[in-house]
């Protein structure tokens, strides 16, 4: 393939900043979505497992609600604070990216 190293498309500087924030926004959005699903699935699973042995079927939905609560709390702590600029390291994956650009 032809090397594209060093070549720039028109309006590179401003567009790249826009593209960076778009990529970060996209990544953050799906991370938040993943947290919400993971919280419900993880604690719903734990609730179901305990309920299976204790024969208390209510533990499954309770676990899911607890998981959702944990996820929502964590998302607010991690991403909400980042938006106010109070927690610089709040954003997760890819936070330090771009240091060699």
């Amino acid at each position: 393939m032809v090397s594209t190293r060093g070549r720039r498309s028109p309006g590179h500087g401003e567009k790249n900043i826009e593209a960076e924030s778009r990529a970060q926004g996209l990544s953050t959005g799906w991370e938040v979505f993943s947290y919400l699903i993971a919280g419900m699935a993880a604690y719903g699973g734990i609730g179901w497992l305990i309920g299976h042995f204790t024969h208390i079927s209510l533990l499954f939905p309770i676990g899911m609600m607890v998981g959702l609560g944990i996820s929502v709390g964590w998302v607010i702590y991690r991403y909400g604070r980042g938006m106010n600029g109070e927690l610089d390291g709040g954003y997760g994956h890819g936070n330090k990216r771009g240091d060699d650009r």
Binding site: V2, R7, H12, A23, A38, A42, W74, G94, N95, R97
Partner: protein, 268 residues
């Protein structure tokens, strides 16, 4: 399009002709095998996928096999595509060190985009990504790639340890362990694949519904008015799907770049 769409056309099934609306459904995603080898059935979506892969390889081969300093039309078009992926997807997520993964991302983007576009091409009219079996191998490829790169660059323990955010009280860590593990190892690759699948599935179904409805309502009756409305919806959904096809390829590739970026360096 298959099944009921063909049936509706060939049988002359219209409003007030005594037959019910042949609503498209899951049956439109199943195809009769083109040929069979033992228990292996070769179907239309497989053929479309292979043709798309060959088309992408052939295009970039033709564009870059004999590169010139002053590029020709094909090379210019190829460079435009490569630069678009590099500047809009790869570098915003990974910086310059992501350039060595440019080939992977360019292939991924154009393969998904072309495969998605097949839903809008007459005769073919089917996006292979609306079948989960075509999406899962791609999501798994990305998953294995970023896990491998993460273990290679940060070490197995380092990679897992680096997933955890800093500056959080230790009781919170214990609460978050199952959430983080599940999210990283299962939900993340799951959402990567399921989003592409669901969008293509829904888009194809929408197009099929309005196309069948247009044909079904087209009769010398009041139904003709609704047929015109349905035909307008076909055009609208067609244009919408054009955007969705591009957007889904873009999102899949951008998230892939982001996940690989996390494998190359620790998060804090």
């Amino acid at each position: 399009m298959t099944g009921d769409v063909v049936a509706a056309g060939s049988d002359g099934c219209h409003l007030f002709s005594g037959c019910g609306f042949p609503a498209p459904g899951l049956q439109d995603f199943n195809f009769r095998p083109l040929f069979t080898i033992g228990s292996f059935h070769f179907t239309k979506p497989m053929l479309v996928t292979i043709l798309c892969a060959i088309a992408v390889i052939a295009f970039f081969w033709a564009a870059f096999s004999k590169p010139k300093v002053v590029p020709g039309k094909l090379q210019s078009l190829g460079e435009l595509g490569v630069l678009a992926v590099r500047d809009q997807i790869l570098r915003p997520s990974m910086g310059r060190r992501g350039d060595k993964y440019l080939g992977f991302h360019v292939s991924l983007f154009f393969f998904i985009f072309l495969t998605n576009l097949m839903e809008l091409i007459p005769v073919i009219q089917f996006p292979a990504m609306s079948r989960i079996s075509f999406v899962v191998p791609m999501a798994l490829t990305v998953y294995v790639t970023y896990l491998y790169l993460g273990f290679k660059n940060q070490g197995a323990w380092g990679y897992i340890a680096n997933m955890w955010p800093r500056g959080v009280p230790w009781p919170i860590y214990i609460i978050l362990i199952p959430v983080e593990l599940l999210r990283f190892f299962f939900i993340q690759p799951f959402t990567l694949g399921i989003r592409l699948f669901a969008n293509m599935f829904a888009g194809h179904l929408l197009l099929a519904i309005f196309m069948v409805a247009t044909w079904y309502l087209a009769s010398i009756s009041i139904g003709l008015l609704f047929a015109v409305g349905s035909a307008a919806m076909v055009i609208f959904v067609f244009l919408l799907e054009l955007l969705v096809d591009l957007l889904q390829a873009f999102i899949f590739t951008t998230l892939t770049a982001t996940y690989i970026a996390t494998s190359l360096e620790a998060q804090h």
